[in-house]
């Protein structure tokens, strides 16, 4: 364990120069562009896309759990809400994917705040129960409001997104699209994490009494944390809908919420690389271990218990975040002058 810690510390202390960053960026772009040509198997490409979707979802849930410090077990409700609203707007009104997604993301953000409002005063464990319940209510709503959601049958034939006249329909195109989303999400989270706003949220998460003593409005940050996380989840829900081409309530069952929480906890609460790691591990591993699929839940459970005992903060914990980044960013361009 100590060796792991030392290794993480070394990784943490590495700082890249502008040139190294540039080369890394070019390599990354090269990798992404060439990936669909290397991965010719559509099934594997599908798994890669799923990993990306879950990476973003884990980031969005981590925003709520890891940054704003609220243990939500109903994330699937926000994810599903985004998927359904976008789908309904696209199929009922013929709206294009992008405006529909903006609307559904905004609406879900607002709804997330409403969901958070009455729970602000509750202790973490009560909040978990309430959000869990809400996820179930939402699924029942999807199943039973047949006139709106078509019930258990789901909504098929969701149109593909169109951007500047180009229709995103092939697996390859979807791969590029999701890769772009992952990059946007990671850049957003990184900048958020090192901003004054993000640092204030870390304070709220760690110690709300200290936060108020520093003039931080705890409620505001909890609400905004839920709103941001909810919006991000809704965005991914929208992507999922157009990618799959059909959605149904079974995609948004409570096991999905648990899966996302597992990804957050396994990867690292409040950690960006951790979120991606957790999502990729728990999406890819079950595929690799197809033969043992009956034992999947048992393996999940055992993994969680082992993590809780040996590394409760996750594989890549929050403490491996870049330190003093706010200052370093502030002085980056300054030294040259």
């Amino acid at each position: 364990m100590n060796k792991v810690k030392d290794l993480l510390k070394t990784i943490k202390s590495i700082r890249f120069t502008k040139w190294q960053k540039m080369i890394f960026l070019i390599a990354l772009i090269g990798l992404i562009v060439s990936a669909p040509y290397i991965i010719t198997d559509n099934y594997i490409l599908h798994i890669v896309i799923l990993c990306s979707i879950y990476a973003c979802l884990t980031l969005s849930l981590n925003m709520i759990i890891g940054w704003s410090g609220q243990f939500s077990l109903g994330h699937v409700c926000l994810y599903g809400m985004g998927a359904y609203i976008t789908t309904l707007l696209m199929t009922q009104t013929g709206m294009n994917f992008f405006p529909a997604t903006i609307l559904s993301t905004a609406f879900t953000s607002g709804f997330a705040m409403l969901l958070c409002l009455p729970t602000l005063k509750l202790r973490g464990d009560y909040l978990a129960v309430i959000t869990l319940g809400f996820g179930e209510v939402f699924r029942l709503f999807l199943t039973n409001s047949v006139s709106i959601t078509r019930g258990p049958a789901g909504i098929p034939n969701i149109p593909d997104p169109v951007i500047f006249g180009y229709v995103i329909s092939s697996k390859q195109a979807y791969f590029y699209f999701v890769a772009l989303i992952v990059i946007l999400f990671v850049v957003f989270m990184k900048r958020f994490n090192n901003s004054g706003f993000g640092m204030a949220m870390i304070v709220v998460n760690e110690d709300d009494i200290a936060a108020t003593a520093l003039g931080i409005n705890v409620k505001k940050y909890k609400l905004l944390g839920f709103a941001l996380g909810g919006g991000m989840a809704a965005f991914m829900g929208s992507f999922y809908a157009v990618y799959m081409g059909m959605i149904s309530p079974t995609s948004f069952a409570y096991a999905e919420s648990i899966k996302m929480v597992s990804m957050v906890v396994l990867g690292g609460i409040g950690s960006i690389p951790g979120s991606i790691l957790g999502a990729v591990l728990l999406t890819a591993l079950p595929e690799v271990l197809r033969a043992f699929s009956e034992y999947r839940m048992v393996i999940y459970g055992a993994l969680m218990v082992v993590m809780m005992i040996f590394r409760p903060e996750g594989i890549w914990s929050r403490s491996s975040r870049m330190l003093n980044e706010y200052k370093i960013k502030a002085f980056e361009n300054y030294k040259k002058k």
């Binding site: 957003f188 900048r191 958020f192 090192n194 901003s195 004054g196 706003f197 993000g198 640092m199 204030a200 870390i202 304070v203 760690e206 110690d207 009494i209 200290a210 936060a211 108020t212 003593a213 520093l214 003039g215 931080i216 409005n217 705890v218 929050r318 403490s319 975040r321 330190l323 003093n324 706010y326 200052k327 960013k329 502030a330 002085f331 980056e332 361009n333 300054y334």
Partner: protein, 262 residues
């Protein structure tokens, strides 16, 4: 006229226990006021009432002549009341510098949109904030430890860091809850210098809870003594030392004597 903080008959009850009982307190701007009393006298609870962590059961609090009884804790900080904690509450996952940065209003108010969409634009302001916070770290002598993790510092230094953090909120009044606890004599002298600097150069009024009598008598203009939630005495250090009620309260708990023995 130049009162910074005033309480009128402030009371708080926890179930049957009256932790603070009809306390009247007036502090003038620039005056160094100390709050002493045996353990469990209600000193920390009074701080929690002043800063809004607890709501008064009855009574009123005025800051700069404005009633703040119903304001929330973070609103009171914004008005200019900062504090340190008896049981240190630094942010564990942050460095020394970051702990001070997050207390700075301009850091907290940095627009999320700006820092996400064009971080370059946010940098000019950030530079000013960092410079200001480094100045504060210099005042408490921690500027060289800016990139250490806050909780890896020794106890005494953590208390100094809490002071710097309190100052970063740009307070008019700074409440120090046992700032000298866990410090050796040398560190306490440093602390005295820091407090003098804060009151004289930065024009921030301080209200101190402290157990070390030598320290209290040396630094205070005036002292208020609490016992069982009630104010039992008030006066200059000389008056307090000879006040029979104070001696009785402390003899009862045996603390006063201990301190003198040391």
């Amino acid at each position: 006229m130049n009162t910074i903080i005033e309480t009128k008959e402030v009371t708080i009850k926890f179930g049957g226990l009256v932790a603070v009982d009809s306390v009247n307190l007036v502090q003038k701007k620039g005056e160094v006021l100390s709050l002493i009393g045996p353990n469990g006298a209600g000193k920390t609870t009074l701080f929690n009432l002043l800063t809004g962590v607890y709501k008064c059961t009855s009574g009123n609090i005025f800051f700069d002549h404005n009633k703040i009884t119903d304001l929330k804790a973070h609103e009171r900080t914004r008005l200019g009341i900062a504090r340190t904690f008896q049981n240190i509450r630094l942010i564990k996952s942050m460095t020394v510098l970051e702990n001070v940065l997050v207390a700075h209003p301009d850091c907290q108010n940095e627009s999320l949109l700006k820092s996400v969409l064009s971080p370059g634009k946010a940098n000019k302001k950030r530079r000013e904030v960092v410079d200001e916070c480094m100045e504060l770290l210099k005042i408490v002598g921690l500027e060289e430890m800016e990139s250490e993790m806050a909780t890896s510092l020794p106890y005494g230094k953590q208390r100094l860091l809490e002071i710097a953090r309190g100052l970063a909120t740009k307070p008019k009044l700074l409440l120090l809850d046992e700032p000298g606890a866990g410090m050796n004599n040398f560190e306490k002298e440093e602390l005295t210098d820091v407090i003098h600097y804060i009151t004289q150069e930065m024009k921030v009024t301080v209200l101190i809870i402290e157990h070390d009598m030598k320290f209290v008598m040396g630094i205070s203009d005036r002292i208020i003594v609490l016992d069982h939630g009630q104010k039992i005495a008030e006066g200059t250090p000389a008056e307090i030392q000879t006040n029979p009620r104070v001696i009785e309260a402390y003899l009862g708990s045996g603390e006063f004597k201990d301190e003198e023995d040391k």
